[in-house]
């Protein structure tokens, strides 16, 4: 249990460094460290599917981010925005954070989830009848491909649209000649 807190504090410190450092490459590497800590957390929270997916997705995300930032505008952008706006947003974020910590006390205790106390919860039915209803030994697979396959169809559509959008934006050269006065 103490290992959870160590990993969470590691992720928070890496996030603070990623936000405050002025070097873009350094902050990208710190975000990679956050993803790696998250993957270890998933493994300790008994979610091996998620840990595997998180680590490979984070590696590809790092490749995309480093491709975008290396040999581009790496000059340090100093100074912040106008001072009043920044102070106002920090105050609002602090208020939201304190309200959120108050709400976190109403959640069930970490390690004692809601579904363990309710015998009629949906998850209990999935665990008890997953193998006999679907035939798959991996209950998570039987949920996202049999009981709740409609959400997977939605996810496939979203990924399809995002990739089409990304390839459509990056197509062709920049159209500087569209403002031609001869037309």
């Amino acid at each position: 249990m103490a290992l959870f807190y160590v990993l969470l504090i590691f992720m928070v410190i890496a996030a603070i460094i990623a936000v405050e450092t002025k070097d873009l490459l350094g902050s990208v590497i710190c975000v990679g460290a956050i993803g790696f800590g998250g993957s270890l957390m998933f493994l300790l929270l008994r979610a091996p599917d998620i840990a595997m997916t998180q680590i490979v997705v984070e590696v590809l995300g790092l490749v995309i981010l480093i491709r975008a930032t290396i040999s581009r505008d790496l000059t340090f952008i100093t100074g912040d925005r106008e001072f009043v706006g920044m102070v106002a947003s920090v105050v609002i974020l602090l208020l939201v954070f304190m309200a959120g910590v108050r709400i976190c006390d109403t959640l069930p205790e970490f390690g004692d989830p809601v579904f363990a106390r309710l015998p009629e919860a949906a998850s209990q039915a999935y665990i008890a009848r997953g193998l006999s209803d679907t035939g798959a030994a991996n209950i998570v697979t039987s949920i996202y491909l049999d009981y709740r396959a409609y959400d997977t169809l939605g996810e496939a559509t979203v990924l399809f649209t995002a990739v089409i959008g990304a390839t459509a934006i990056l197509r062709g050269r920049s159209r500087k000649r569209l403002e031609d006065p001869e037309l």
Partner: protein, 160 residues
């Protein structure tokens, strides 16, 4: 890249590809599934692209083929859903497990349409992510050349 990097990555790429196929195929028995396996397939091609360059990978898996594989994966996934409606009466029902081919638990042939859906999703996710990273690499290489501004390949809006 140096000779050592090129040689080792050409060996390792095949192993990563095989591992991705294993994760997809056994997704209903061990942790993994279609999404993680598809991302592993895409990352094997990304390794090849980083070691050998973009033009080598373009000859190996051209952009049009990757786009067609992407559409094929999505289409097969929707087709499995519609076949559930035709054979089973409800959209997306696991018709293979319930009537035609139950299989034995813990075997590779089990779970009905679940392994087929896993394969469709794996192909789709792998092809999509390869296409995105390839397009990012192609745009970056193109934007770093000095822009010649030749009017031959502008849009159809200009007439010279």
């Amino acid at each position: 890249m140096t000779v050592i990097v090129r040689t080792v990555s050409s060996w390792v790429k095949v192993l990563i590809f095989l591992f991705g196929i294993y994760i997809i195929l056994f997704g209903h028995l061990t942790p993994g599934g279609g999404f993680a396996g598809g991302v592993i397939l895409a990352s094997s091609y990304v390794l090849l692209m980083l070691a050998f360059g973009r033009t080598f990978v373009e000859a190996n898996l051209p952009r049009s083929l990757a786009s067609r594989l992407d559409c094929l994966g999505a289409f097969v996934f929707a087709l499995i859903a519609i076949l559930g409606l035709v054979f089973g009466g409800t959209f997306f029902v696991n018709f293979l497990y319930q009537t035609y081919l139950p299989g034995r638990p813990f075997a590779l042939v089990s779970g009905g349409t679940i392994p087929l859906s896993n394969m469709a999703i794996g192909v789709k996710v792998g092809a999509s992510l390869f296409l995105v990273i390839f397009t990012l690499a192609a745009f970056r290489a193109e934007s770093q050349e000095p822009s010649e501004g030749n009017p031959a390949n502008q849009g159809p809006g200009q007439k010279e």
